[in-house]
């Protein structure tokens, strides 16, 4: 169900309509919980199932089975009683359940007794020289163009990086008729050895067959260079060439109009951090993840987190975690008792365990190389404010600065992306420079609005007498 009319109060607000958000909303609405779903995109599905209802791609084989698995979930979501609001940007939320949302050009505040954050993941920063040149984009961006607009690269395209999604996107792109001049794999050589102890779990997971088939398919149709240990995008006003160095020390320059970068995905933490949810460093996944219980309950009493925002585990796990978070909320809201909660949860927990098999292997196998996470020299760390790795390291050498002091020193992390494309890089560089753990260094302190809103939109919010009195000159 969807419609533009928003109420002032809901029992449950789900933020994000990817697999976790949709599953949470379906489960909650089925239990009679008055649920609103706020999502930034025009259609449900999140990034993984983006455009599933309206992709202009005619051949379903291009995107593969794993994509079309989402169709049933989207259908169930659209049939559910949850109030779905697309193109709604949540720009603030508080532990008291107050949510600020920009929708259809106006800004609204609403209240929910509980919030489930399902804001998913974003691609890990891939800071190399020239990564801000037009023509350089993420592999995820290319996948979005493919899914939602049936577009592929027209000229010389190069794909570089590592990760399970890297191979999936490569395969989808090739099936669609796209071509790569070359594929540059940055997976470090030592990864396989560190992943092998976790092979038994991987052998029992569905990723095994799918993964090997994808890699074999890509290798049949494109030339893959590995391992690549240095990478640089070159050009004046736009990308013209890519220079790379192989493990054997060979340096090669190839012409390129498009360079697609990818080295894994990390939780999108911005809204969770604004809400004050405690996060901890995940040493294998190399990112901050929220501290959660089995129901996705965060350190903030009213807030649960589900899906890849709770730690990277993929779409199938996200769906199960969404259902579990909804059951947790239903129990907290008094809709079900503990016995019903636990009985209903049992199959979801089993499915979650199955979906997580192999994850520990994948995390180690595709762990991105240090040299591509901790840049040096003139490579831009903060794309928005154009702050280089050298500047960050120089500041770190002066004293034991933290990420928040870097904002004052260099404006690093203070641009419109609010650290989404530099936060992890800055934390890791500072941790490296000071010999501390990323947990000790911490992350940027994030404040609302987490999405841009205009002053006019803010001013259009309803005001109480007290609000006006607070700012009026006596």
């Amino acid at each position: 169900m969807s419609g533009p009319l928003l109420k002032d109060r809901y029992e449950l607000a789900v933020i994000g309509a990817g697999p976790a958000g949709m599953a949470a909303a379906i489960t909650a609405a089925d239990l009679g919980i008055d649920t609103i779903v706020l999502d930034e995109q025009a259609t449900p599905g999140g990034q993984i199932y983006r455009a599933i209802g309206e992709t202009p791609l005619r051949d379903p084989a291009v995107l593969g089975e794993a994509y079309w698995r989402g169709a049933g979930l989207v259908e169930a979501f659209q049939a559910s009683a949850a109030h779905y609001v697309p193109q709604a940007a949540v720009w603030t939320a508080s532990a008291e359940g107050e949510i600020g949302v920009a929708v259809a050009g106006s800004v609204r505040m609403l209240r929910a007794k509980r919030i489930i954050l399902a804001t998913g993941a974003l691609e890990r920063p891939f800071p190399i020289q020239g990564w801000t040149l037009p023509g350089v984009m993420t592999a995820g961006a290319a996948q979005i163009l493919l899914k939602s607009a049936a577009m592929v690269g027209a000229g010389h395209a190069v794909l570089a990086g590592t990760g399970p999604l890297f191979w999936l996107i490569a395969a989808q792109y090739l099936r669609a008729g796209g071509t790569f001049t070359t594929i540059l794999e940055t997976t470090p050589r030592g990864n396989l050895g560190r992943a092998l102890p976790f092979l038994p779990g991987f052998l029992r997971s569905s990723y095994l067959r799918e993964g090997f088939e994808l890699i074999a398919e890509v290798r049949r149709h494109a030339s893959v260079v590995r391992p690549v240990i240095a990478l640089r995008a070159r050009g004046e006003d736009r990308l013209t060439d890519v220079t790379y160095r192989t493990g054997a020390g060979l340096e090669v320059t190839v012409r390129a109009d498009t360079l697609l970068l990818h080295q894994g995905v990390v939780p999108n933490v911005n809204l969770a951090l604004v809400l004050g949810c405690k996060h901890v460093w995940h040493e294998t996944q190399l990112c901050f993840v929220p501290a959660l219980d089995a129901w996705g309950q965060s350190s903030v009493a009213t807030v649960a987190i589900a899906g890849d925002g709770a730690g990277i585990a993929g779409a199938v796990a996200a769906e199960q975690r969404g259902r579990l978070a909804a059951l947790g909320a239903a129990f907290q809201l008094g809709h079900i008792d503990q016995v019903v909660r636990d009985q209903t949860a049992a199959p979801y927990l089993a499915a979650l365990r199955q979906a997580q098999l192999g994850r520990r292997f994948l995390d180690r196998m595709f762990r991105p190389a240090r040299r591509f996470r901790l840049p040096r020299g003139e490579t831009l760390v903060c794309r928005c404010e154009e702050v280089t790795a050298r500047q960050v390291r120089d500041a770190a050498a002066l004293e034991r600065v933290g990420p928040n002091q870097l904002k004052a020193y260099l404006r690093c992390g203070m641009g419109p992306c609010q650290g989404r494309l530099c936060g992890l890089t800055v934390t890791e560089i500072l941790a490296d420079a000071h010999g501390r753990s990323p947990d000790e260094v911490g992350y940027y302190r994030l404040r609302p609005p987490v999405k841009p809103i205009t002053v006019g939109e803010l001013a259009s919010l309803p005001k109480t007498e007290a609000d006006i009195a607070a700012v009026e000159r006596g």
Binding site: Q41, A89, L122, L145, M151, E385
Partner: protein, 98 residues
């Protein structure tokens, strides 16, 4: 540089980009329409004047900022095209004041 696959069939709309008419498809984001039309650079930065185009296409990088129907710094990857939409690429810092 991107191209549309031959099987991509959707109703056509026309938008204006920097005063030039650009064909687009219903369901395109502004970013997709501009990329399909051959626009690589969407703006130059306020810090150094460097050229930028879309990087993430999912609303997190803020590099695809353009003016849409007179409102500056909109995320082109999050707005869908409409017939008659006016889009302007951005150059450097935005002026302050009227």
């Amino acid at each position: 540089m991107f191209r549309r696959l031959p099987d991509a069939a959707a109703a056509a709309v026309t938008i204006a980009v920097d005063g030039h008419f650009v064909p687009a498809r219903v369901g395109d984001t502004v970013a997709a329409a501009l990329l399909a039309a051959g626009f690589g650079t969407f703006r130059t930065t306020g810090v150094s004047g460097a050229s930028r185009g879309p990087y993430c296409l999912m609303g997190v990088c803020f590099d695809c900022l353009v003016a849409i129907d007179g409102i500056g710094s909109r995320q082109a990857c999050l707005v869908q095209v409409r017939e008659g939409m006016r889009v302007e690429t951005q150059r450097g810092r935005r002026p302050v004041g009227p």
